[in-house]
């Protein structure tokens, strides 16, 4: 199962992961993790046991509803602030699946994922991840103290604007054996 083809273009392109003996392996535990990819996309990873799946079905049946799994991403500004739902995604196969990318309408703050069943307008959470910091979309609105002339301030802000593009400098691409001649260095 891969969410990337159905979601926002900013999310990663669908790539068939390499074959691995680990794919699909289950540990017999209920777990939900949230990994932050960038300010506008996160990845929920989970394992759901048949027992929890059975419980989800009972919950849905009691509400006369089909078992419709959903992932919700909650966001809060800080540890003391209340969380609010920022993004949701319906998951066709929570039992067999294991990961799902979600786009976020804004960056910053902290997010966590909830995996549960959608019951009409309600939501019954079954699993929750821990809160994870999300990078902001850009510079902080609040300025730190530093005595500057207006001209110096403008100069520094302009330099920050041109130098702040994340990932503008290269990283550790040059470390391993090179590809054969004719293929450029990544």
């Amino acid at each position: 199962m891969n969410s990337s083809e159905r979601l926002a273009p900013a999310l990663p392109k669908t790539v068939e992961p390499p074959p691995s003996a680990l794919r699909g392996r289950r540990y017999g535990e209920d777990r939900l993790y949230l990994l932050v990819r960038d300010p506008r996309s996160v990845l929920a990873i989970w394992e759901l046991t048949p027992e929890l799946h059975a419980r989800a079905r009972v919950i849905a049946r009691d509400q006369r509803s089909a078992t419709r799994y959903q992932i919700r991403i909650e966001r809060r500004e800080s540890k003391s602030a209340p969380g609010a739902v920022l993004a949701t995604a319906d998951i066709p196969d929570a039992l067999g699946g294991e990961r799902w990318y979600l786009g976020l309408p804004k960056g910053g703050g902290e997010c966590r994922a909830l995996l549960g069943v959608a019951l009409g307008g309600a939501f019954e959470p079954l699993l929750e991840s821990s809160w994870t910091p999300v990078p902001p979309d850009g510079p902080c609105a609040e300025e730190g103290p530093w005595d500057l002339t207006p001209e110096a301030r403008a100069w520094l802000l302009e330099r920050a604007r041109t130098g702040a593009a994340p990932g503008a400098g290269s990283g550790s691409a040059a470390r391993y054996l090179a590809p054969p001649p004719g293929k450029a260095r990544s």
Partner: protein, 527 residues
Amino acid sequence: MTQGYLCILLHAHLPYVRHPEYEDSLEERWLFEALTETYLPLLAMLEERAQRGAKGRITVSLSPTLLAMFEDPLLRKRYAYHMGRLLELAEREVARTRHEPRFHPLAVHYRERFRARLHQFEERYRRDVTSAFRAVSDAGSVRLITCGATHGFLPLMSLGAPSWRAQIGAAVGEFERQLGRRPDGIWLPECGYTPGVESVLAEFGIRFFVVDTHGILHACPRPLPGTYAPFRSESGVFALGRDADSSRQVWSSTEGYPGDAFYREYYRDQGFDLPIEEVRGFLPSGGTRTHLGLKYYRITDRRSAHREPYEPETAQARAREHAAHFVRGRASQAREASGRIGQPPLLLAPYDAELMGHWWYEGPEWLGYVLDEAAGPASEILAVDPLEAIGAIPRATEGRLHPSSWGEGGYSAMWLDPSNDWIYRHLNHAAETMQALASAGDRGDPLTRRALRQAGRELLLAQASDWAFIMRTGTLVPYAVRRTELHLSRFGHLADALKTNRINPVEVAELEELDPIFPSLDPGLFA
């Protein structure tokens, strides 16, 4: 008058690759190539500076996996053999090109170069590269710092502090064991920072770390001097941000020095250019063509496939010119920034060490010339290490940092992508399991302690950011997948044995022999 402080930092890292099960492994050549083209030439440059008492200091982060490989008797022996073989090939090339005046001097150049490296490694260092680094550090030419134990990308470790503590604690322990003192600074693997990491760094006495430019520029409150001032994090550990201008000058594929027409072309190599029958004996088992380090051409014109023969003397002259240009540029930048922010700025210029020499053949010489230029009587910048800069620059900024890295996009996209995201559920599971096992302790039983320690090693090795990176870049993917699976499988095996208290001493010994990294690893770090 000093207008600014230039901190050049080289991050030296390779994943832990050691295959006693094979006679010859393609991936072990990563280390051999980097030794020949980067680490030994850098050491030679630093030693020469130390001998003449030259001013100026750079910083080098030596990753613990690299230190482990420097120390490994098998890899030392194999490197000496590899260099002997390369020297043999170079001798043949000298003979083969004797009637080719355009290439013969180059064949001689490589023969002399390989001979010098082999002598440096065998006779001068007695195969002990770590002690050579320690010596140039003691002489004041370099400040050595550490990195995550196996280069695990910290922001994607869901367990947070316990996982960070294991990566950082193991790294600090190894640094101390091998270099005789604790490190003052750390290169966070891939420059990957997420809030909370700085508290763990403080626990281990680390005083500074590095983040990418936007790591500082997006901090709260916004630090107006940007990367020009050290940034004091909430734990008191300083974060230093990469200077975008210095970086662009070297890294940029369009503006960067390494693309100069007179510099050596990386991609043309006799490992590919010679008839297969002439190089087969020098290629890894199986005869896969690969780079052998004998490269006879210069870049010439990047818009065309035509290449002219390489001229080492001309390239050296260009390196000297580029060094002067670099230092002039930094001095001008420092002068301007200093006038604006009211104090000399910090200019942090971090590069992958392997860029110097391996990719950019003339890189180590360029670096030496940069240090000479910066030490000149009229120079307005001082080449210092981060601690010297922090001590000399009157005022720091402070606040909260947000997650960042130096990879593509500036966050976690390089290591979290449909090509590699499948590994994290398994890594998380293993980290949680290890935490539970370590918390339970060894009950005073030596075998249990050995099994716990080995389980810790396997987990750390599985966490290396290199595997996700390789899966993402698409080269050598099966190797990266195999390594991830292998270490997780070995971990799982040990974890099951520990849980059921059915530890087989023979199996533990076998794994200790296969992955003998971090001999004094403390399993308590994982609790």
